[in-house]
Homo-oligomer: 248 residues x 2
DNA sequence: TCTATTTATTGTAAAAACAACTATAACTAT
DNA sequence: ATAGTTATAGTTGTTTTTACAATAAATAGA
């Protein structure tokens, strides 16, 4: 009996009855951003039971009645748009976290969930609040009540993954806007990791990593508090960096 | 509309008809080992269509008629046993790789697959061939024909993951038996990565990583080819190592 | 027994990377 | 002009890496 088999006679189970093993498959998304000097995640408040009035990650079932069938990634973007009003082009990065298959994770019936974590950059134009019911970015350190379903576990894994990827990948740039300064990039690390990094050493590390950032040739406007205006960079072509950024 | 919803009226899709979105969910396993100085993966030959007579990763559907429902991990162990005769206690390590949800990955109907990668240690007693139909360890570098379904992609991802984890984790010890020498451990790295590593530097790196290996106090029997007998170690308590092993 | 060979393990020195710190550059506000 | 502020470049000692040399402990054959 091989993977992906039709629901016909199951030789291994020694029973020649046809058993329907189909189950619901959903997608949940942990969409992160850095706003207001905080590491935040997008949550929605559930309007129906179970877990009514509790906060949850946005998500929903993979639909089989759209085109030739949705990919899980398409479901992720669709549900984000439907539940929070955030359209695909406002999501800078999306990556699969894994499948969550505890048989009791949904109290009603069997649901497998495929979890994603994504990053929304700091946007220049806030675009106003979405018209969807109740969706908010919440600081991850201030989420006290437990989330619906097993979303505590999913969120915890997503936070771990995001923090780990900062070390050896360039995804930190996804938190920034189109153009950013090295200090803005360093603040992403500091806020997501909850540490403080040496500015000089961070700068040298980033600039010596080939393809991490790309010089725009222009400077940012100097802030009203004074100080030398910082150079503006954009995201480079590299996805990975050979020498990791360390958390101290 | 939230994740893990009942198949009742779908408000977001603006249609008050009940649509059954359930689908088959299967588990596929890439089980690796190092045998005969080669990095090998366990494959089975399919006995039925589609992809009859093609090689595939072992796996099968998550069953809802076992107990209160199987977890995907339980499915992985069950299918390994059923299809290849390898029982759970012969698998040293198992970790989820991710979900594969291309709507066309199975030509018959929609199947989501949750992929795992695992490691089987070099065993002292080979236990003889399994009675299952046709299951063999194949060197990953010698798999020329494409595998069934999207198993090429899954295997490729599994190989990447296994190779990457050698750098910063202690899973290399899972390829070894209960007790092993530093040279045996180094050979795992060399074979899986396809590189050659400096013996002295490797030794120092491993022994200076706290919890990587644990001294048994005994030596291996010296081989017939001569040479100083190597010290025997067992796997330590650490799962991660702070200073990575590099591929050169 | 002696010697060459083999493998494991330890030592050493140059090079690279890191961490902490200092100096300079380029701005604002008074 | 001067002080304060932020960005960026330089400096120095320490740790880590890399390449290579030396020693240890065995086997095999003369």
């Amino acid at each position: 009996m091989n993977s992906s088999e039709f629901p016909v006679s199951d030789m291994q189970s020694n029973q020649n009855v046809e058993v329907d093993h189909r189950m619901n498959v959903s997608v949940d998304v942990a969409l992160f951003t850095v706003r207001n000097e905080e590491f935040q995640v997008l949550l929605i408040e559930r309007g129906i039971n179970p877990f009514r009035f509790q906060w949850a990650l946005p998500g929903g079932r993979i639909r089989s009645d759209i085109g030739d069938g949705e990919t899980p990634e398409e479901t992720a973007y669709r549900e984000l748009e439907e539940e929070t009003g955030i359209s695909k082009d406002l999501v800078g990065y999306l990556e699969q976290l894994g499948a969550y298959g505890n048989p009791k994770r949904d109290p009603r019936n069997r649901v497998i969930s495929i979890a994603y974590f994504g990053i929304r950059p700091m946007l220049d134009d806030p675009k106003g609040g979405s018209d969807a019911s109740k969706a908010e970015f919440k600081p991850v350190n201030e989420i006290k009540q437990s989330l619906a379903f097993d979303h505590d576990e999913i969120l915890s894994d997503a936070i771990d993954r995001a923090r780990a990827k900062l070390e050896y990948s360039t995804i930190a740039t996804e938190f920034c806007g189109e153009e950013f300064t090295i200090t803005e990039l360093r603040k992403v690390y500091e806020i997501v990791w909850g540490v403080s990094l040496n500015p000089g050493n961070f700068q040298k590390k980033v600039l010596s990593s080939p393809g991490f950032v790309e010089d725009t040739g222009r400077n940012a406007e100097s802030s009203s508090t004074g100080g030398r205006p910082a150079r503006l960079y954009r995201s480079g072509s590299a996805a990975l960096i050979n020498l990791p950024i360390r958390r101290n």
